[in-house]
């Protein structure tokens, strides 16, 4: 976007070297919305439209889309954080570009603002827009994106379908009376989808294949039928953050 001077590397937009002409065809929101505080929302959009070389006719549509039509004449400085963000998204949508770039679009927003922004992004995605979203919030990536690429120090660590890269792996923690650990381990090897059973702080942690959600009721009954009475059974969600740490660590090693 010609905001930072790159120390190395190349990139292209629409198969062409980056230029101001390319930027006019892309709707971009980098972190915070940047507008003239003393001007109204609509006047700010007029400036953005003029720079992008778009007509003013699209302004009512984008204001309506982000639900700011009623406040279009209010000064930008009087907007809430969520409204400012929505105005920035409206500015991105001027001229109905096919590609949108959002960098940390929910940064600094309250929960309502976050929900509004995510819903707007999902709405745009449903319209068929290509949205490039940069975020450190893995939960956000999982909720909003279809595909993900993980970059670290300029290196691409992993890329693919978000359900494959950031899949939630469930872990079941089981407790058994002392001396029964080996029997439990042996019994669980026959359970479908189990990849690993390992002791952890007095409990046995059971890992499953990616995307496999274990039925704890069935598991309990299965153990009982094998003559093992469980003293502890808990389904744990493995956090996306720990998954991310695992990916970045694996690559560093």
């Amino acid at each position: 976007m010609d905001v930072l001077k790159a120390t190395g590397g190349t990139y292209a937009w629409f198969g062409e070297p980056p230029s101001e002409k390319q930027r006019r065809k892309i709707g971009t929101l980098l972190e915070t919305p940047n507008f003239y505080h003393y001007l109204s929302g609509e006047r700010n959009l007029r400036i953005a439209a003029a720079i992008k070389g778009r007509g003013m006719g699209d302004i009512p549509r984008v204001l309506e889309m982000v639900k700011l039509a009623e406040r279009k004449d209010s000064k930008f400085s009087t907007y809430s954080l969520g409204m400012k963000q929505r105005l920035a998204i409206a500015s991105c949508m001027l001229g109905n570009p096919e590609v949108l770039v959002f960098d940390e679009p929910t940064n600094g927003l309250d929960p309502v603002g976050i929900a509004e922004t995510r819903e707007t992004i999902r709405h745009l995605a449903r319209e068929g827009k290509t949205i490039v979203l940069a975020s450190h919030l893995l939960d956000e990536v999982e909720k909003v994106c279809t595909h993900v690429a993980i970059l670290q120090r300029g290196q691409l660590l992993m890329a693919g379908d978000v359900r494959e890269v950031l899949v939630n792996e469930d872990i079941v923690e089981l407790g058994v009376p002392g001396g029964l650990e080996d029997r439990l381990r042996e019994a669980l090897t026959g359970w479908p989808g189990v990849t690993q059973v390992r002791p952890n702080e007095g409990l046995m942690q059971v890992f499953f294949e990616k995307g496999e959600t274990p039925d704890t009721g069935k598991l309990n009954r299965y153990c009982f039928e094998k003559g093992i009475v469980l003293t502890h059974l808990q389904l744990r969600k493995r956090s996306l953050e720990s998954k991310f740490m695992e990916i970045t660590k694996e690559t560093n090693q």
């Binding site: 971009t28 003239y36 003393y38 006047r43 720079i51």
Partner: protein, 270 residues
């Protein structure tokens, strides 16, 4: 460029601070000159004001009539550069404060376009200020020449050109500071401090090192194009002789200001 200027106009036409500062710049030029004119009239009148019938050829020459008005009014108006500097600093640093310089680039301006239109804005404001000075000179000149203008109206008009060189130099110094410092209050403070510092440096260079290089400092070289009317630090002939060197110095500084601002803006992270 016209399209870029149209967008700049969209940015400022509804900005109240811009109109207040511009109003001060435009009104202060005739206003301050009128105040000085009134003082001069009071001091020199003795019941008969300068410019009154018979005074043109008398011992008291009205410094606001033709041809001296060009010099007097340009000098008096040059005291008001600070107002124009504040206006330029405000308009420029606003972009950095609101980060709209980033947004303009992201939305599709090139860095060259952004800094280029800002430079044109500085030139246009300098032209406007010069135009107001010109009208003020004509106003005072014709109104105080009751017996008809005895000399050519344009005699002394080179001072208006010197005024333009001076106002654009001061405006560019303000612009350079605004681009480098980015914060409005700090930039205005630094501009004011620089005005004092340069005088101190010139004093040291002239009095302690006994060299005349101080007269070629950025502000001093243009200040000397319009010396204090009536009292000359050097002979008229010597001043005439040095005018080209002051103009060359001003030109070199203007090129330096242009190179510094454009290179800095083109190379830095936004």
């Amino acid at each position: 460029m016209l399209n870029l200027l149209r967008i700049e106009w969209m940015k400022i036409k509804n900005y109240r601070t811009f109109w207040i500062l511009l109003g001060i710049v435009v009104l202060a030029i005739p206003g301050v000159n009128y105040a000085v004119y009134s003082i001069v009239r009071t001091v020199t009148s003795g019941g008969k004001g300068p410019g009154g019938p018979g005074s043109a050829g008398g011992p008291i020459v009205n410094p606001f009539s033709f041809p001296d008005g060009w010099h007097t009014i340009c000098y008096t108006s040059s005291m008001l550069f600070i107002m124009q500097a504040i206006l330029i600093i405000t308009l420029t640093t606003n972009e950095f404060t609101f980060k709209t310089h980033r947004q303009n680039i992201i939305d599709g301006w090139s860095r060259n376009a952004f800094i280029g239109v800002k430079l044109v804005e500085v030139i246009l404001l300098s032209i406007l200020s010069t135009l107001v000075v010109f009208l003020t000179i004509l106003g005072f000149g014709f109104s105080s020449s009751h017996g008809g203008v005895q000399v050519s109206v344009w005699q002394g008009s080179r001072f208006l050109f010197f005024y333009f060189v001076q106002v654009i130099s001061y405006s560019m110094i303000a612009f350079v500071i605004a681009v480098l410092i980015k914060r409005s209050g700090l930039a205005i403070g630094l501009f004011l401090i620089y005005m004092v510092v340069e005088q101190v440096v010139m004093g040291i260079v002239t009095n302690i090192f006994k060299v005349s290089a101080g007269q070629y400092l950025p502000e001093e070289s243009t200040d000397r194009l319009i010396p204090f009317p009536g009292i000359h630090l050097m002979s008229q002939a010597e001043w005439e002789h040095r005018i080209p060197s002051y103009l060359v110095a001003a030109g070199i500084y203007l090129i330096i200001y242009y190179v510094v601002t454009t290179r800095y803006f083109l190379k830095s992270d936004l």
